[in-house]
Each structure stands twice: as C-alpha cells, then as structure tokens.
Symmetry: C2
Subunit: 220 residues, 2 copies
C-alpha cells in the first residue's frame, strides 16, 4: 500500500516525529475507532459532528436518515475533514510542562457522494453492523425496502490523510529525573460489558457466542 | 444556571428528543470528556483537531506550544466549534435498522482569545493538570518562566451550545419483539490502569495516594 503524499493540508507540523503517512498505520486507527468526528463548513461556520463510520478500501462510509443535514451536506460533495482519535493513556511526567496524553489520531480529507444502488447500500449497512460487533449482520433482522429507503449512505474517498501517534513513557528534562515525583503512564482502554439484556427479550433467547467472544476480546 | 438559547446553529434537528440545552447537562459532558475535537476553517477547508480541554466557568481553555497553528488560529478570534463525545454503549436491536450507540455529546460554538497574564496562564495549566488527575498540580514540578513562555493558552467563551444524549435499551418495532434475536446494550467505559511506572524512576519514589484513588474511582 502506498503512502499518502505529504502536502500542506495533511503534514504534521507540531512534533513532526509523531506524524505517519502510511496506509497501514492510518487504516488501523480508522478501523479501531468506533466513531469519527466530521468537520464541515456552512456559511463560513465550522461544525464538528460525531458519527459512526466504516472503512471500505480507500473510502469512508457514513450513514444517517435521508433527512440528516450532515449526510445531505456530505453527499453534496462539500469538502469534509474526518478525524478518528483513540486515547491510550495519561502521561504523568515529573514536570507539569511534560505531562501529555498517549493517543493515536487520524485526520483525513475528502469530498463525499451518495451511494445510490440498493446493493451497495446493503453492503455498507453490513459494514456498519459488523463494526459494532462481528457476527451481528447474520443474526439480526436485515433491512427491508422501507428501511433501506429511509437510510442514506455516503462514501468519502480519502484524498489525503495523516496519523499522529504518541506512545511511551514521559519525556522529562534531564535535571528533573531525580525529583521525588512519581512518573509513569496510566493506560486507558475501552472496556465492554457486562451486557444488559433487553427487558422485553423472551426468556428462551440466550446470548449468542459472537457476543460472548467479542466481550472477552475487549476485556482482556 | 440558565439554558443556552436555541438558535439555528445549535438546535438538534435529528431526533430532537435527544437534544438538551441546559448548562448542567452540557457542562457535565464537557467535564467528563478528556479531550475535545476542535473544528476550524482555513481557506474554506474544514479541519478537525483533537486536543485536551478544560472548562473554567463559561469558557473552554485550550493550550499548546506558542507555535501551534491550532492555538494561533483560535487566539486570532476565528469562529470555532468544539465537540466533546462520550461513547457509553453499543445498542443491539433485533433489526439492523434500529442498531445504535448510546452516547453523550456536546457541540459548542465560540470565538477565542489569548490568555495574556502569567497568573491566568498558571491557573489554566493547573486546570489542565488537575483534569488529567486530581492532586497532580501540587505534586509535580510546576512550570518555570521559560516553560510558561513556550506555552499559549486560549480561552473560548461558550456563545452557544447543545447536548445530544442517547440512553437506554434498543427501540425495536413492535412486530420484531418476538424474533429470536438477542437484544440489549453492551456498555462501554474507559478503564484506567494498571499504572506503568517510569523505567527511570528511583526505587524510593512510591505511587502517591491520589493516583491510587483515581484509578480505583475509574475501575469500579
């Protein structure tokens, strides 16, 4: 996979060592993040809206009601910026100045368009559902024609992107290393579960294996 | 505390029942979120940048190197949008169509300015540090004049804001309730720890109580 070209738009200026432009790093972050923040401009005013996303090859898929302002704005082909951020830890340095956060983020740019065919829309909805929890698409009741009609899917080809990543321990000044101040990293991770069974669920319906496996994979 | 006025800018259109305009709801979300996403416009292009924030009364504080493009853009008084999002759970409905995410988000708007005085800057840095972990400001080595000079703090008065919140179980169509599909919510929470001690920390420095307490409060 080729790298994204470094341009004025996507180049990481502050702490350039933390910048990455290779698709492997960028796509891993996009895929791990459950939601993204969509930036758009209306009447010179910026708006930032959180939403679920899915990646299909070099495209980001978003969806919403056909009446959604966000989706309409994206499908009209306006410039958008999508940012995915994973917060991995709190970095406690000996000095206040060097306190930081371990994180992985992606900032990407593109112009979207509407996904028109029912077949592509269904595939996109499968991507969204499987991102929430792998195995769900086959189990849940799939969209009918009315639901499909009420849902818009937009696809944003990734024109440009960069990642910014901070990992590792605190970086203190040499002269602070002997201070009697505890330093280290407090890791942060998203913990899933325990599941809350729907109150109206018939007693005969038991929790499927794919849900148990998913929770196990996210609580290790 | 008064509500924020509902205007064209901040009114929640999609699923209006999820919208909230009272400061209590909005400020709780702002304060619980560790980071925000800042939206800004440069040459008609939207940018969305993740960064740490702190709230001081009706203002959001951001900080960065004096050379940071983000900080410079905000301190110049340009319109910005700040969004804080907490993802609380995955909502598994019987139908794909009603799958959702439980979340709490705030979208706010304002125009920032530079915090000029050293005293106010120090107070802002105290806010940032105490937000990472309460008790840290008194323990860590506080900023010296050189570090203070290298850091810019900007303050964004909240001109307008709204929250959007989804809580609770899946909302399925009546005719799907008897389907043999497991439904419910998978809660998501941010888990902190166990702490990773800095490899260069002298053996005599033990983990302070405020760190233990913080981890305990976040892992219940």
């Amino acid at each position: 996979m080729s790298d994204f070209e470094k341009t004025e738009q996507n180049t990481v200026i502050r702490v350039p060592d933390r910048g990455a432009y290779d698709r492997k790093t960028i796509y891993q972050i996009i895929d791990e993040a459950l939601i993204c923040h969509v930036g758009l401009v209306q009447h010179e005013q910026p708006f930032v809206i959180p939403t679920l996303h899915a990646r299909h090859d070099d495209h980001i898929l978003l969806h919403g009601a056909t009446t959604s302002r966000l989706i309409k704005h994206v499908q009209a082909g306006n410039a958008v910026c999508l940012t995915m951020t994973l917060v991995d830890g709190i970095v406690l340095a000996r000095s206040v100045f060097h306190h930081s956060i371990n994180y992985r983020s992606v900032v990407l740019f593109g112009h979207g368009s509407l996904v028109e065919s029912d077949q592509e829309k269904l595939h996109a909805l499968q991507c969204f559902t499987e991102r929430l929890i792998p195995g769900r698409w086959q189990d849940a009741r799939q969209p009918n024609q009315k639901e499909l009609k009420a849902t818009s899917v937009v696809s944003v080809p990734i024109d440009s992107a960069s990642a910014k990543v901070r990992v590792g321990p605190a970086v203190d000044d040499e002269e602070d290393l002997q201070l009697p101040v505890w330093a280290g990293v407090l890791p942060i991770r998203q913990q899933i579960g325990p599941p809350q069974r729907d109150p109206e669920l018939p007693a005969a319906v038991s929790q499927p294996e794919y849900i148990k496996n998913y929770i196990k994979s996210r609580s290790g």
